[in-house]
Symmetry: C2
Subunit: 207 residues, 2 copies
DNA sequence: GAAATAGTGTCTGTTAGACAATATTTC
DNA sequence: GAAATATTGTCTAACAGACACTATTTC
């Protein structure tokens, strides 16, 4: 008996026009998460890299395996990955894809709504204990932009003073000599320090 | 071109004779994580359930998908699950399997050492912020047994007073009227409350 | 000078972690 | 009563969260 076909799917998030968006591909009726079959000769990683590089013009993208779906109602087993790109990343021409705000999703195929929901939970969760948030921002950013990113993803208002204090104390960012000018007072630009240990300080519930 | 074959593998942990052990299956030379092919008609969940029920005489087992391995050097793509059983669980006759202490592992096939290492990290991590620890214990247990479980898995000594205080304050366990007698003063038996919300109180690093 | 945005400090309540003596049982 | 194990409380340092005003720029 032959195995079921294997594919990878991608949940690609980005922050655009003040909302968190996900990239969806057009399907006969409705939309779906972009996918790619895994052929015999190709590894999962290779299939995912191929899928990603066909969509976005980025060299380095934050990418993480999310979950593998293989329920009985599915035609194929799908290994789903989860990726983050900053707003500057451009879409490549080719497949019909669009960024959809999470609050205004179109009809999605099969179990893709469930997958997307899980990816969003995972994103929110990781935002709180790891440094993934910086993957949604350009290389240099202001503290207000950083806070704004957190507020949009978490869908929650944060206190400016507490936010700044902890971000700076954690040592995860460092200031640059540059400023961003705009409407009001210019804001200092910071950059992420990938070398800083983004340690997960969990308050052990069951120590 | 046909897809690569698909299988599930299982990392099954248990606490036996004062050490954390993993169940391994014999292979031509050496040992490996128990596995099962996923045939076309079967879902991942069904293949895993079949694998598990061929090994252990338990109805309910804590089970969680760990990761899917599909590197280029592999013959098959493997969806790896991670399971915990208490020491009371008995092995079923059939395949040649044995419990190995994690500190005295035999030679393991392919990337199985890496998989096992990841599973152990995940177990330790989850122990700190979720209630998985109870899956390694019988339905009723003393606080000393619970602490002992944590100490063995985390490989770290814990303070008795702080441990008890937080376990009790969290509301995750409730006392029973029974006691366990033995060498010294009898110890009260507690039971896990699956209904209690095992909330993950993370100290937000990046708030 | 009005509007817009950036930047800054303090207080309080809670919690983690360090620490030692008493209580109850068996043999 | 000796040995073994169970049970209990306090103090301190660190941190989360609440909260409001001043600074710098543009138009």
């Amino acid at each position: 008996m032959p195995d079921r076909p294997l594919e990878v799917n991608l949940v690609l998030f980005s922050l655009r026009e003040d909302s968190l968006r996900v990239l969806l591909a057009e399907r006969d009726p409705g939309w779906e998460l972009p996918g790619e079959p895994v052929k015999a000769a190709r590894s999962l990683e290779e299939a995912t890299a191929r899928l990603l590089s066909g969509l976005i013009d980025r060299r380095e993208t934050y990418l993480e395996q999310l979950y593998t779906y293989g329920g009985p109602q599915r035609a194929a087993v799908s290994v789903v990955y989860f990726a983050l790109v900053p707003a500057e990343a451009h879409l490549l021409p080719g497949r019909t894809v669009r960024w959809f705000p999470l609050v205004k999703l179109p009809a999605l195929a099969g179990d893709h709504p469930e997958i997307l929901g899980y990816a969003l939970r995972r994103l929110r969760y990781k935002l709180e204990y790891s440094a993934v948030g910086f993957q949604l921002l350009p290389a240099q950013f202001t503290l207000s932009e950083l806070q704004h990113t957190y507020e949009i993803v978490l869908d929650e208002k944060l206190d400016k003073r507490n936010f700044r204090r902890r971000m700076l104390q954690s040592g995860i960012i460092e200031s640059t000599p540059r400023f961003r000018t705009g409407e009001g007072r210019p804001a200092r630009l910071y950059r992420y320090r990938p070398d800083a240990v983004a340690e997960v300080k969990t308050r052990r519930l069951f120590p």
